[in-house]
Amino acid sequence: MTDDTGRQHLDETEARLRGAIATRTGQVQPDGAAGLRAIEQRAHAARRNRRLRRGLEGALAVAAALVLVAIAVPALRDDGREQVTTTGQDASSSTTTTTAATSSTTVPVEPAPPLAVWPPPDHVQYADPSNAARAFVEEYVGFPNPPMSDFRPGPPMSGEIDVYLRGENGAVLEDHVSSTIALHQTPAGWTVAGARTDDIVVDNPAPAMVVGSPVVFDGKARGYEGTIIVNVRDGGMGAGETLGQGIGIAGCCDELLPFHFEVALDRPPSQATGSVLLNTDSGLDPVASFAVVPVRFGPTPTSGPQVTDGTTVNVAWTRASGEVVTRARTVRISTGVLRGALQQLLSGPSSVERGDGLFSALANGAAAVPFDVVITDGKAVVDFGAELPRVSPGTSSSEASQRFLRQLHATVFQFPTVTSAEYRIGGSCNAFWSWLQRPCTTVDKKNPGT
């Protein structure tokens, strides 16, 4: 090929490329107003999170100072008249009351040590909190060579260490804290008492809570593709080991969205204590956000409702016979009861329910499908994400589609305020019904049909 010929070919390629780019970009019509609103909302949320973090750090510093003052005061004025009574058993701080003195004061007593997540007793123990934190991230969480802050002393015999994110080039991003590790000093060495992250707020289980199978998780989170991965671990278990694993769906972007799900244990724990690890690890980032909560294992699930603003809704499953069966689930009122019920429907039956012969006409992958719900004048418009047919192709078959519709109707129409429903996929009624091989229609509660 001569230079001229080569140049000509490249000119042709250049022209084709210009044409393709012009056509492609000419077809894209961004919604500028919605984009600006999204930017403002997300920037506001980011500022709020930064303020919250600064506030928490300030509160921790104030609490540490108060504790030091409280220790110093009685030491300086020890007059031998104080009788100390302790209230609280598991509280991290307790009160003491002076009975002989004319005034009363509050002084600390030895708090109950927090449950240790790491290291296990038969593991190497650490005299340096940074080494304990590093070993924890590498051996328990499973992230190699984590970038970390210096140890920040807190109240006596405790402190924190931040874990940073890395940039694409591997550089440490010191203004991006993925998680913060809480450490506690014991006579044997420094132990990890847990970890928190702004990306996953765990309401349930609370630290040291007694849990059984299934373990109920509640909170708010945001993760890559809205996915939160959970592992329940026996005491002493490290990365790659689990008593039970589950995947929860929460927010995908800046906004923390509620999650509620259960993880059935594959086998009973062998230790009295253990931990739960929740992370946003997509398997693609060197370090993801993680939260770790120590728990105690009990023979049964903790008694009483574990969701503080929860209410009970029904979710419909089917039996092999085609019978539709509803099972109660607890969802957050703040989430919206219909939204909560539909999220449970997409997530599928629990292992216990599956053991009872119940199943869903939707495939497991439906749990990750986003959806939207709007109720206006008694009409519920349920709009599923466009990927639903792709992740649950079998639902379109004649029998499965009937089962799915019965499940959907039973779940949607359980609420008295919903009298009709329009189902959509990607905003299209036709897309939903053509997936199920039926014409678009609005479903009447009195005669929903399948």
């Binding site: 490329l17 961004p30 500028g32 984009g35 930017i39 920037a43 930064r50």
Partner: protein
């Protein structure tokens, strides 16, 4: 030569978020759409870039530096997204304008453009980014170099190699 960004900017003044958004948002979404198929993702990438810029002590209000920063942030986001290879399909029908051409002619044109775009997207990262910046935004080598943080000479090399590879890829498909 007036770039697409400059053309969008018009004569409007101001350097606050709304003004910058008005000047650059649409062109950045379209720039991302050259590299990433899903338009919703493109919008999110651009929003990420704006939010990141707002959250930092960045020369955000310097109109001479903001466009390069935003372009760079969008390309970084697109690169990360493509590396993850996890694309959540979104309904694009609502975001794509329609015209009055016959379905057959439209299909043929779409196929041709789709083939070229697919070939572009299969190029190495730097090559496809250089070509997108050159042939969509009409940026100079110096502007591309500033956006990508590389030398102007490297831009020229990537552009030449990218076009050659693109030509070879398209020839293979004939």
């Amino acid at each position: 030569m007036m770039t697409v960004m400059e053309a969008e900017a018009g004569t409007g003044g101001g350097s606050d978020l709304a003004a910058l958004h008005r000047r650059h948002y649409s062109s950045l979404v379209r720039l991302a759409s050259v590299l990433v198929d899903d338009v919703g993702t493109c919008e999110e990438l651009v929003q990420d870039a704006f939010v990141a810029a707002l959250g930092r002590d960045h020369p955000w209000r310097d109109e001479t530096k903001a466009p390069a920063y935003l372009r760079s942030a969008v390309l970084n986001g697109a690169r990360t997204h493509l590396r993850r290879r996890v694309v959540r399909q979104r309904p694009q029908a609502l975001q794509v304008a329609h015209d009055d051409r016959s379905p057959e002619a439209d299909a043929v044109t779409r196929d041709e453009h789709r083939v070229v775009l697919d070939a572009l997207r299969s190029l190495p990262e730097r090559q496809r980014e250089v070509l997108a910046l050159r042939y969509y935004l009409d940026l100079s080598e110096a502007e591309i170099a500033e956006t990508l943080g590389i030398a102007a000479g490297t831009v020229k090399t990537h552009a030449q190699r990218g076009l050659t590879a693109l030509h070879a890829s398209l020839e293979d498909q004939r």
